[in-house]
Symmetry: C2
Subunit: 429 residues, 2 copies
């Protein structure tokens, strides 16, 4: 059966990416071609808008506006971090019924797939024809089934370019430079720094991902020997490094994050007037009244301080690449942009096809010609919810390093052509 | 008298910029046209190479290599932070004499102008015909005389774009976001964030520059009222904010940096094995054995923590934009790139002209047509050394804010066309 006449709802969820709006606009533009979709409503701030009936009608927006929004980083409809309860999913479904919503598109990560799945199960219970499509996005690249996630290529492009520039900077003013990269549970984005290695001796010289166990003493040894060899060291560290290494985590075992350990060494003795009135409300405070300084960038500063104090190296700096990784407008990968748009289009094509029920749009590579190319396919919501993907174990060498050739082949087409650093010829230095 | 036949030396100094290599390559390419320059030597790591006779002969590098280096961020010859003593300047001059160096080009900030001046004064003493040109570069835009400095436009482009993306991100996931921007003594780069304001209600909603006094209570009040008004707040803070405001500093008075004050509230209790063996060598330690955590990004984290603890706002984040500001290869302003190249070319033209002795290349705008255009001129080294320029007081409104129109007219052409965010029409939200 083709989809029945009714309205569509679309929402955006989780951390924004540089291309999440491409998927959003791709879906609207495609939906205009399908007469069975009567009105397309954008939910403000994802499930929050669906719970409170805060919707934006989208079909009457002019084309040039839609195309401009497509190019704009972050979620134009607003996003949300909250994962709804079962009751909330039921309420959303009831709201959908009331508005004759027959098509529901949710752009997000694996939690969003789970939300979509729950909402769909209420529809199934009542035999209500609702077609639910999860549209993938995440800069972490950690969704199951799909070859890669829209949003990742652009974030990786930012990270690669930051390291290309920083490698030059670190050559010019030698020292140890540590960059903290996003990706709490998957090392893809941190590993993207490896694309900055264009010439022998280029950094990053050391790369630490959450999948492999992190040992501070080993780290210091690595940094020391790199510094001795090159007179400098450029280091990529995932925000999610942990003691066990997520490859070794047992089911339901939580990682011991290094950031948590390092943060516990720091105390912030605020003047009285700046201490929290109600302990624990917005910040945590210990029994001495010291506030927990829980910023994201402190791990880099502590690592840099420990490198200084134990290795005696003077020029040690740390940067935490921060939100520009997911929202910088000048580092969008063309491939990522096109694919993000495509998954939005394909979501609508899937939803309006005969006998469709629910699914997530996934990407696979087309093999054969040697040229990079992809096609999309549909995978059940359950196959992408709950669990996430790690950096593949087969891309780790027996020496415990990232296999740069294997990973390079995977990531290069997603990031696009990178600016090539110039270097004197005849090996001057 | 035109310049006599001899060799040329060029060096790069201070913090790299995204376009400092354009000035470097512009000088080499121009020098090839001037027969009186026999060989062009690049000093490795600025004065370090000049002191130790570590030079790279540049004339035999292929054109395509030079053009590729020109496009590459950071200092291809290597840079240095050390300011030489008088004795070192004398030694450099002696080395120059020995190598028949008659042309000396030094790319850097005001300290580099002073170094160039000192070296030139030794030449003058001995009546040795040395022609010395300072080529300006700084992301801080704080050199005297010149309208603006090569390197600033690209750094400003990075900052503007980071805020354009972050403004969208902050709209999507509401909260308080604080971004710490480079520029210890001048507010130009922090103020560049204002270019991100494309629509009413866009951030940055608050901008704090070193020229104006910073008061933490006032800051908290500002953040609170912005948050109440918009449900969010995007805040630009210069790393150099201080109590007095540099407009109010007396001659030789040092600013009380807020970062120093905030850092003093933090202590880092390192496990014994990571404490420095020799106190004070690479890190500072207090009498309790606590190490001073002096990273650049901690100010943002502390400000964010104080916003949380005093205002009770839950979602408060801070980023420190870090080295990508000066080295990101995808945020280079075309205008900045062309002008950086031009000042390198003009330096050689000046040095080889009749009766030239010494000077710094400066930029002024050509008035008249309304179109942006510049020309260069020569200003004595003494006029740009030692002192630096602040954000102009006449661009501060009586309410103590940056005059966005006046500053915008100044900065817009330097940064180039910026990506325009898309926004729904008919004021949906």
């Amino acid at each position: 059966m083709p989809g029945i006449k009714g309205n569509a709802v679309i929402g955006q969820s989780g951390g924004p990416t540089a291309v999440i709006n491409r998927s959003f606009i791709g879906a609207i533009v495609e939906a205009r071609k399908h007469g069975e979709i009567l009105e397309f409503y954008g939910a403000r701030h994802g499930i929050q808008g669906m719970l409170n009936n805060e919707y934006v009608p989208l079909f009457d927006q002019p084309d040039f506006v839609l195309q401009q929004i497509a190019k704009t980083p972050a979620a134009a409809l607003g996003s949300i971090r909250h994962k709804p309860t079962k009751e909330e999913c039921k309420k959303i479904f009831d709201n959908f019924k009331q508005k004759n919503v027959r098509y529901f598109f949710y752009i997000g990560g694996n939690d969003s797939a789970e939300t979509a799945y729950l909402i769909n199960s209420f529809a199934a219970e009542e035999n209500y024809d609702l077609r639910v499509v999860h549209i993938p996005k995440t800069i972490d690249n950690d969704l199951l089934i799909t070859d890669h996630c829209p949003g990742f290529g652009s974030a990786a492009r930012f990270v690669s370019c930051a390291f290309i520039g920083d490698n030059q900077d670190n050559r010019a003013l030698k020292g140890v430079k540590i960059n903290i990269v996003m990706g709490r549970n998957a090392g893809f984005l941190t590993a993207a720094s490896l694309l900055a290695k264009q010439y022998p001796k280029d950094g990053p010289h050391l790369v630490y991902i959450p999948e492999l166990p992190f040992d501070l003493d080993k780290f210091l040894k690595d940094v020391n020997s790199t510094y001795k060899e090159h007179g400098r060291a450029l280091v990529a560290v995932s925000e999610g490094i942990n003691r066990q290494g997520s490859f070794n985590l047992k089911e339901d075992e939580k990682p011991d994050y290094i950031s948590t350990w390092l943060n516990s060494m720091v105390s912030l003795d605020l003047p009285d007037k700046y201490r929290p009135k109600e302990p624990g409300k917005a910040v945590e405070m210990d029994s001495h009244g010291n506030v927990n300084l829980s910023g994201s960038s402190i791990m880099g500063d502590i690592l840099a301080t420990i490198v200084k104090s134990t290795l005696g190296i003077k020029r040690v700096r740390a940067d935490t690449l921060g939100y520009p990784q997911r929202s910088f407008p000048l580092a969008i990968s063309n491939t990522d942009a096109a694919e993000a748009y495509k998954v939005g289009v394909e979501a609508v094509i899937a939803a309006t096809a005969t006998n469709f029920d629910e699914g997530s749009i996934a990407i696979r590579r087309i093999d054969g010609s040697g040229e990079y190319g992809i096609e999309t396919f549909i995978t059940p919501l359950q196959s992408v919810q709950r669990h996430t993907k790690s950096f593949p174990e087969e891309w780790i060498t027996s020496g415990g390093k990232i296999d740069e050739r294997k990973f390079g082949e995977y990531i290069a087409p997603l990031v696009g052509e990178l600016p090539m650093a110039g270097r004197f010829v005849r090996a001057i230095f």
